[in-house]
Subunit: 350 residues, 2 copies
């Protein structure tokens, strides 16, 4: 006998990303703001003043990627249990990508799932990490290997938070914006080349365009069965760079900048990008104080490290490359090792 | 500016529950069978013989509810990483409810979610735990407090597994079947009263009816926003009994049997069930070797313990009761404490 399970279709998940000054937020449930001491010192007072709720708790976790692990995650859950948070309670992620990824993951497994809201405070999390519902923590096997797809109820992106952001972190955010332009929008790339990316109007425009592009991709392919993989441009190489330098030399966005330059070298090799356009990307990154050079010590070892990435655990490396020119993309699989090694060997001399 | 996220509606989650001899299963991905030594000794050989896959791993976890925690869960994930399982790999839960709940939870967070299949081997997990996608682990604050809603790709219910099941565990499964009948189906209740519940034909019929009823409920309300809460009949009281006896005196199904008798006393008090029908339920449970009496030491304390349940963490107790007679249900909230205490005080003299 067969009993069919045909779950009632629910309304498609829908929510808004608001790019504006943080509005007044009014909740009728318990709220916990998850943040770290650095962000709290800068922004907590203002955020607290914007929120009305019957009970507001603050859950602080240590600042830094090295604390993005299950221990920290379980400590967040414990705080919520101790404060008797129930299934209607709400979490607010106040911080960068690490805070957002962990808060979303905690929300997804606390009592089988409660609501959460993103208030990203770094450029990188405003244009990338806070959009799309990827949550997770790292473990000794790699980055974001434990987690879930879990969408927030809303994302509030307030460019004002960026005024206190260190320049290096600001630049790291630019890298993800350049990524979106190279993959999807040649005009946007022109704009990035020609504009002062620190003037408030341009900042808001750049965030809005980046978020819109990412939202389109996520709307089409939430769980990365297809086109969402394009957002990993620069990341296949970048993850290896991060790993080889123990996640301590480069910020994530910096490693992605290096990774895009490497990916472009491969694209040039395959005839998918002209030397000139590759050079334009490199110049744009450098003008924004991003690193573009990385000396590979051992090409063979670098190649082996591709397989530590969860996208390559099946033994195949998925390269995301420009698809002929800036503003287009192509996913290349099953590339012969010697073609890749040719590029890696060039970097060994870089 | 507002960027809308409107995720593409995916096809509603659909899969089959197959009640039959375990069929041949053929996979083109890595497979890990998660089980415990007790189940492995009885059934692993047969299950392995039914499965074709390029690579089959066995992940054993210790047997028992006391190991249903994050430590065990993380050890399952570690095994998968060590064996380089990727996002296409598949988990198979082979065992009772503890194995099913943990395997489902592990599948839901391994690399943000991989497929899993349920092969339940106890009566309780065949008729209840394996159906509906609730996953989770316990922690020091209570049962199933960390977890997710995550549906399997298929459930294979083979009544043959029950031949080696200890009688006490078999009876515990009957309790959840009686629950379904009392809440939803008076004719099914008659059948349970009149039939030999150990003859193979009746066993299969009883499983099929129970699973069908549960599937209907889950199809309507996957995430327990409404009617799915009815499945907690007997559980509100039962959880307190389990907690007061440190989860060691009673099997879950036994505590549910006691809990149903308590819920029925409350229902009689509220005029929602006749004394005669309450007595019929008690007799059916006793005829199936289930406990129906529990001496409450301290009524006030018992009442306080209701609030440890995640359903009552918001300070309200949700009682699930018959809705006038056997075969019907009613959710009662905001009951005055003195009405509940009257029933609890009766049990203190029981």
């Amino acid at each position: 006998m067969i009993v069919p399970i045909r779950l009632n279709p629910v309304a498609p998940k829908a929510y808004d990303i608001v790019i504006d000054s943080l509005p007044k937020l009014d909740f009728d449930t318990k709220v916990a703001i998850v943040t770290n001491p650095t962000v709290a010192a800068l922004h907590l007072e203002r955020v607290m003043a914007s929120i009305e709720a019957p009970q507001i708790e603050v859950v602080e976790v240590p600042d830094g990627e090295e604390y993005k692990n299950m221990d920290t995650l379980l400590s967040i859950l414990d705080s919520l249990f101790e404060k008797r948070f129930d299934r209607k309670s709400l979490l607010i992620a106040l911080g960068g990508g690490v805070i957002g990824d962990m808060t979303g993951f905690a929300a997804s497994i606390y009592q089988r799932g409660i609501d959460f809201i993103q208030i990203p405070t770094t450029l990188l999390s405003q244009v990338d990490a806070s959009v799309g519902g990827k949550t997770g923590v790292n473990n000794r096997f790699g980055k974001n290997l434990i987690g879930s797809f879990y969408q927030p109820k809303a994302v509030y992106i307030d460019p004002d938070f960026l005024k206190t952001l260190p320049e290096r972190e600001y630049a790291a955010g630019i890298a993800e914006i350049v990524k979106m332009a190279v993959m999807f929008d040649a005009e946007f790339f022109d704009f990035l080349e020609e504009s002062d990316l620190k003037s408030p109007d341009n900042v808001e425009r750049m965030i809005a365009r980046s978020v819109s592009l990412k939202a389109e991709v996520v709307n089409m392919d939430e769980k990365e069965a297809g086109i969402r993989a394009v957002l990993n441009y620069g990341h296949t190489f970048g993850h290896v760079v991060e790993n080889e330098t123990s996640y301590s030399r480069y910020l994530h966005g910096e490693a992605v900048a290096i990774g895009m330059v490497m990916a472009n070298m491969l694209a040039v090799e395959l005839g998918l990008l002209s030397e000139e356009e590759a050079e334009r990307v490199r110049r744009l990154l450098e003008r924004n104080s991003l690193p573009t050079r990385y000396r590979i010590e051992d090409g063979e070892e670098f190649y082996e490290h591709f397989f530590l990435d969860k996208k390559s655990m099946n033994g195949k490396i998925k390269f995301i490359l420009p698809g002929g020119s800036i503003g287009s993309h192509r996913i290349v699989e099953d590339l012969p090792k010697d073609v890749v090694m040719k590029v890696l060997d060039k970097m060994a001399g870089a």
